[in-house]
């Protein structure tokens, strides 16, 4: 029964968006020239979608809190990390949601400390570490052991240098058509565009088929 309800809601949602998009904004005059009746409902249906999506924001922290609370109460390994998580979760919720309270200045300070002092710094650090990982991966991955790998490496060097001012500086004495940035632009605008178009066409065909199966409940997990 529950699966059928899910399938029905999926089907009706898909049908609404499909018809709203495919039907003309205004019917021909010989049909009465009426406006698309689904269009006025579109913002309301989307608001419903936004509300459903917002529920995920509650489900995520609730699941995490339940899992970490369980670890803490049952004294499982990793309970210190769970305690840190729960303390930060509660502190963040309190700091971010008690606007207008009498101790607003203290909550603001707590929010700034947690958001800019901890979260932003941690996130930026983890992204910065990716750069080091990238250099390390380049050291191991770009191995020129055949012609194709050599071509890929050559185009990567041209793109990497052609996309930064260093490339301009290195080839500034050459005629404009021989400069690295022009070679990089050519690679991106011609061979890359052709490949991207081919990939897009393939992906769109696959997405259409997958979407159609999901909409009609033909997917493995539907119906």
């Amino acid at each position: 029964m529950r699966r059928r309800v899910v399938w029905l809601l999926t089907f009706l949602g898909g049908l609404f968006y499909l018809l709203e998009f495919l039907l003309p904004a205004r019917a021909p005059d010989w049909l009465g020239g009426f406006e698309n009746p689904l269009t006025p409902c579109l913002p309301s249906v989307t608001s419903l979608l936004v509300v459903v999506g917002a529920m995920a924001f509650l489900l995520g922290p609730l699941n995490l809190a339940r899992s970490h609370l369980g670890t803490l109460l049952r004294r499982r390994p990793g309970r210190l990390e769970s305690l840190v998580f729960l303390v930060f979760l509660v502190a963040s919720i309190v700091a971010a949601s008690c606007e207008g309270a009498d101790i607003h200045w203290a909550l603001d300070a707590l929010y700034n400390a947690l958001f800019y002092g901890v979260q932003t710094a941690f996130f930026a650090s983890s992204m910065a570490l990716l750069a080091f990982y990238l250099v390390s991966a380049a050291h191991r991955a770009f191995r020129i052991n055949n012609l194709e790998a050599g071509l890929m490496m050559a185009s990567a060097v041209v793109i990497l240098l052609g996309q930064v001012p260093l490339g301009d500086w290195l080839t500034q004495a050459l005629p404009e058509s021989l400069q690295l940035r022009h070679a990089a632009q050519w690679i991106l605008a011609v061979p890359n565009t052709g490949v991207q178009r081919a990939v897009e066409i393939g992906v769109c065909g696959g997405a259409f088929a997958a979407g159609f199966r999901q909409w009609l409940g033909l997917g493995a997990r539907a119906g």
Partner: protein, 254 residues
């Protein structure tokens, strides 16, 4: 240290020039919409891309509306980037620019963009400060995407659904600001002119800053990117030399 050494960008690419021309063609009473959907992880490239476009809009006294369909943190980062520039040129919040805040799109970007384009006020009822959208003087001139001259989307990887639902349905020009690593995906749209322009990483921001004659963050950071890319190339060369040396040693041993 490399951030402190400025290296001027060369002539602007076609993609950068396209965005510049789109803003230059905006009439004095036109309004530009910016979807600033980046946070701390994307700050390294997206911050400069937002900053230079806002600076250009302020130079031309063009009003703008900011939305964030990306992450819950995005409105705060947009606010912190725009506020100093707006204060510098005397832009008044609510009259000259508005930050409408986060629009939840986790359940699907396409329907949210579509609805936002049709009726902005039904999707966002209040701005980041909690002021009802209808009470803001600027928002009285913005109801649908037809009231917007250009949509500029700045994030890690802008969604092509902006092109489908804004450019395709309503004809409103769309431009992107994206990470360098994601740029190859969007060249098809530049080629087909479905994208009016695009800023590619800090290089794009640096080129834009050169066009508006206001070198800033993008110019400084593109120098750091030069050394980053150089490090990748050097690592590849060292890795290959090591591989060839190992192969040679193995051949000699057998």
């Amino acid at each position: 240290m490399v951030i402190l050494i400025p290296m001027p960008a060369g002539s602007a690419s076609r993609a950068t020039r396209g965005l510049y021309d789109a803003i230059e063609s905006c009439p004095a009473d036109g309004i530009v919409m910016i979807d600033s959907s980046w946070d701390q992880g994307m700050r390294a490239e997206n911050a400069a891309q937002l900053e230079c476009v806002v600076r250009h809009l302020c130079q031309r006294r063009i009003r703008f509306v900011v939305t964030s369909l990306g992450t819950v943190f995005s409105p705060e980062f947009a606010q912190k980037t725009i506020e100093p520039i707006a204060a510098e040129v005397g832009y008044v919040y609510g009259r000259d620019w508005v930050n409408t805040g986060y629009v939840q799109s986790a359940s699907g970007l396409a329907p949210v963009i579509d609805s936002l384009a049709r009726d902005f006020h039904k999707i966002r009822q209040a701005d980041v400060r909690g002021t009802p959208i209808g009470d803001l003087p600027l928002m009285q001139h913005v109801r649908t995407i037809r009231d917007i001259h250009l949509v500029y989307v700045v994030t890690y990887a802008p969604s092509p659904e902006w092109i489908s639902f804004v450019r395709g349905q309503f004809g409103t020009p769309v431009a992107f600001g994206c990470m360098s690593i994601m740029a190859p995906n969007y060249y098809t749209y530049i080629d087909s002119k479905q994208l009016s322009g695009m800023l590619i990483g800090n290089r794009g921001a640096a080129e834009y800053e050169a066009l508006i004659r206001a070198p800033s963050l993008g110019t400084r950071l593109s120098m750091a990117a030069s050394f980053g890319n150089l490090a990748i190339i050097l690592a590849s060369i060292v890795g290959n030399l090591g591989m060839w040396a190992a192969l040679r040693a193995r051949r000699r041993a057998t």
